[in-house]
Symmetry: C2
Subunit: 205 residues, 2 copies
């Protein structure tokens, strides 16, 4: 273990490992090996061992890794050993789907508010949430110290909405709008655009 700074590409693989470990745990497994985990996620065993060993010696020779122990460590590292309050901005179809999604709960996140700027939507219910006025976003985000947002507005208003989120103190944005966002260096963005993902595959067809 060398506690230097960890490459982002490794950080990106840890949630994949954690997700696979959860499945193993759900099916009653107590331990696993780099080889088994590698087959599950499609990554070489050596790669997995090296990734994990960046953070400490979590395995045991001859035995492999204790699943609950490794999950706890990965959750620590990724800081999902707590619950992050997140908000959804934009209550179109995607925002709607995210608001109804029950897959956040066990994995470190909780949707605390949802916003839209359409008067026809504000005040109405979406799942368990009342749609809040996007005009009140700044105060509400600051009051609740929200650090994470999912952005589901149309491309045309995405940059403006992102600017507002940044101003309100948000440091991580999951962007569903099909546009690259311009944000300060300390704000992290992840992109989900089904079309770019599809286009990445058509090259090989």
């Amino acid at each position: 273990m060398t506690t230097e700074k960890i490459p982002d590409i490794i950080i990106g693989r840890l949630p994949i490992y954690l997700r696979a470990l959860q499945r193993l745990a759900d099916s009653g497994e107590q331990t696993t090996s780099s080889q088994e985990l590698g087959e599950l996620v499609g990554i070489s065993a050596a790669q997995i061992r090296k990734d994990i060993s960046q953070f400490g010696e979590f395995g045991k020779q001859g035995t492999g890794y204790s699943i609950p122990f490794l999950m706890e460590k990965l959750r620590n590292i990724l800081k999902v050993d707590r619950v992050w309050e997140v908000v959804i901005v934009g209550m179109g179809d995607i925002g709607h789907a995210l608001a109804n999604y029950n897959g956040f709960n066990n994995r470190g996140f909780h949707v605390s508010m949802v916003f839209d700027n359409d008067p026809k939507k504000i005040g109405h219910k979406v799942g368990d949430f009342e749609v809040l006025d996007a005009g009140t976003m700044n105060e509400k985000l600051k009051a609740h110290k929200i650090r994470i947002a999912m952005l589901c507005v149309p491309a045309a208003s995405a940059q403006e909405a992102a600017d507002q989120l940044v101003k309100a103190g948000v440091k991580a944005i999951l962007n569903y709008a099909p546009i690259s966002l311009n944000v300060p260096e300390d704000v992290h963005v992840q992109y989900i655009d089904p079309v770019t993902h599809l286009q990445r595959m058509t090259y090989y067809l």
Copy 2:
């Protein structure tokens, strides 16, 4: 230009460039430079020049790149200079959102069918589509020579559904289920799991 095989990491950036070029074109621009494009997408100008030059000399010294010309070239390379017929499997909230999404049209894709295995959904309308019986998927996919699918079923049935898609000749899967899929080498998979994307960012908070 060296027509050797192109690293996947470069292929992955091309759709980002294409998306930004479309925005520039929409706002009436005729030409751009690696620097301008780089600022738009958050990638260094040198990187962009090198990526593009893998495929030919598409720019002009002193002038930069013709936007329509470069877009055409990128579409050629990515094979989105045509329209790919795609299907959606699983008509939950996400499948619903994708079925209603109108962002596929101009970017090389057209949803041709949607499937579910829930008798309560089969035969009903979702947007413009009639939900088809997933049991009939194999014949329909083969009949229409479908190569691309978006998979939106629950994690528990995702691997089984993927196996069926592969058997029906699908070669590219955009997987929304929070699980790593096991597929043959010639089948490409892209993953969209909001939680793994969020977990990748919490590390830095």
